[in-house]
Amino acid sequence: MSSGQGRVDVEVESKRPDEPAQGQAHPNTCPSCGSHYRDDELEKTLRVCPQCGHHFRVRARERIEQISDPGSFAEEDDSLRSSDPLGFFDLRPYTERLAEAEVETGMGDAIVCGSAAIEEMSCQLAVMDFAFMGGSMGSVVGEKFVRACERAASVEVPLVSVSASGGARMQEGILALMQLPKTICAIDELHESGGALISVLTHPTTGGVLASFASMGDVVLAEPGALMSFAGPRVVAQTTREKLPDDFGLAESNLRFGHLDGIVPRDELRPTLGRLLRLFARS
């Protein structure tokens, strides 16, 4: 046994969201209470279940609409696309997975960045989208996040990041892992310039994204019920063979253990961000 039997593999990413309990539930059916909604109903409630308060996932562009002043968002770097440095081929080629994700989501990669205003306070936004390959971070996500940091530093506004990610994108191999130190270097430069990072963690924020920029906010917030763990519950259960606590890795547990500044229900996110931006404003 070199490291065979006792060896534990840390899964940095889980490409698939936690599966709904019974097969393929409709995306608009609440996994928590079973209520079903039309899309326009959910849109009006910011995709929060009016019955039980469950927070459905929000796509990046809808999130930007929810939190920023109407018409204030100006996207940057939307022409950046992932390359395939490894010629990666598992059951399917990486390039095919990328093309499919782009067609399905209408996005170039798993993050949307640009300038915006929240309650009339200017800021830079970096918003992830779990629908694009599980929100995994490869070179493009890293690069776009870094550029958002650089813009925030140069125009002297805070950066607000909203993360949703299964972790590093393994199809880009070690270069995906290098996006961790890369984003952290950029945050260091942002902080050196006097800029602030407000990090909002949404369900789920795990693996390499949690282990890099998402945890580096001057203020770190999360949505109710968001899973935020380095290793996913399945990996931890398999490794330790113990029963996981019911609130394993959830925002509520993380708040209790001191890893979060607050849990913010979705309808309070915009005013909360506005308040923080005013507090961090440089006079």
Partner: protein, 306 residues
């Protein structure tokens, strides 16, 4: 293989970027590079096996051979002392340096104690404490990376594994002292990069460095952990590949057959590699050194555009 033998005999295979190779060494190097352009799946798997070899020297094996008067520092000053990650101060070539490294166990009892080299957040907090000490006293920092990954457990998550890994990297980014990291076995994902953000990152010839373990990758993408060989061949965790991508700055040669065949020789080569790397960055102004460190990571990644 023959070629590699000859190369090893020529001395340390210092592939430090910017270092000019001359004459015979350069010619052999070219040949080697050419040969290794597309290492076969078997060669890559061989690296994986050597990196995990039960007799491979671990951090403390190198420490006792390379450092004089090593004094181990214990505890994160908050909660615990994590035996999966060791820190300490010692003399390297006559000068005090701080060491941070993962530590695996040799027998069953020690393996359990060392948790197979998988650190808890307490381990990374201890590392940050050692880094702060280095910065305070102007001691260079040397790290040795050898972990399957950070420990995925309930308590580890409750104690903030993700945040600890992020902050440990941030601590390394900010250091004003010279820093050298070397992957000496398994460079497993976030748990590895947590202590590997350095001015010069080296990798031993048969070490591996990857975003996920071959088994983990296979389990997810092939839905079968048994396809680990295929996964390893696909994402190429070997040292040559990491050098090509600029993820590491140099490769440290190992004795023929792997570091475990002659730990003393392996330690000598590692010491030479670390000292050469330190030499390159020692004279730089601290601000400039930090700027260069960040600039190195700034360009990592491969992009396309539409």
């Amino acid at each position: 293989m023959r070629l590699r033998e000859r190369l090893s005999k020529l001395g340390a295979m210092k592939l430090l970027r910017g270092t000019k190779l001359t004459g015979e060494l350069a010619r052999l190097q070219d040949q080697l590079d050419h040969l290794r352009e597309e290492p076969s799946a078997e060669e890559i798997w061989q690296s994986v096996e050597l990196a995990r070899h039960a007799d491979r020297p671990y951090t403390l094996d190198y420490v006792e051979r390379i450092f004089e008067d090593f004094f181990e520092l214990h505890g994160d000053r908050g909660r615990a002392d994590d035996p999966a990650l060791v820190t300490g101060i010692g003399k390297l070539d006559g000068r005090t340096v701080v060491l941070v490294g993962h530590q695996k166990g040799r027998d069953l009892k020690e393996r359990t104690k060392r948790n197979f080299g998988m650190a808890y957040p307490e381990g990374y907090r201890k590392a940050m404490r050692a880094m702060a000490l280095a910065d305070r006293h102007g001691f260079p920092l040397v790290t040795m990376v050898d972990t399957p990954g950070a420990y995925p457990g309930v308590a580890a998550e409750q104690h903030g594994q993700g945040g600890a890994i992020a902050r440990s990297q941030a601590a390394m980014v900010r250091l004003s002292v010279p820093t050298v990291a070397c992957v000496i076995g398994e460079g497993g994902s976030g748990g590895a990069v947590a202590i590997a953000v350095a001015d010069r990152v080296l990798m031993q010839e048969n070490a591996i460095y990857s975003v996920i373990s071959p088994e983990g990758c296979a389990a997810i993408l092939w839905r079968d952990a048994g396809e680990a060989r295929k996964a390893a061949a696909a994402f190429r965790p070997d040292a040559v590949h990491c050098l090509e991508l600029g993820v590491v700055d140099g490769i440290v040669a190992e004795p023929i057959g792997g570091a475990h065949t002659d730990p003393d020789a392996a330690a000598k080569l590692l010491e030479e590699g670390v000292l050469a790397a330190l030499d390159e960055i020692d004279g730089l102004d601290p601000t400039e050194r930090k700027r260069q460190r960040r600039a190195k990571y700034r360009v990592m990644g491969v992009l396309a555009s539409v």
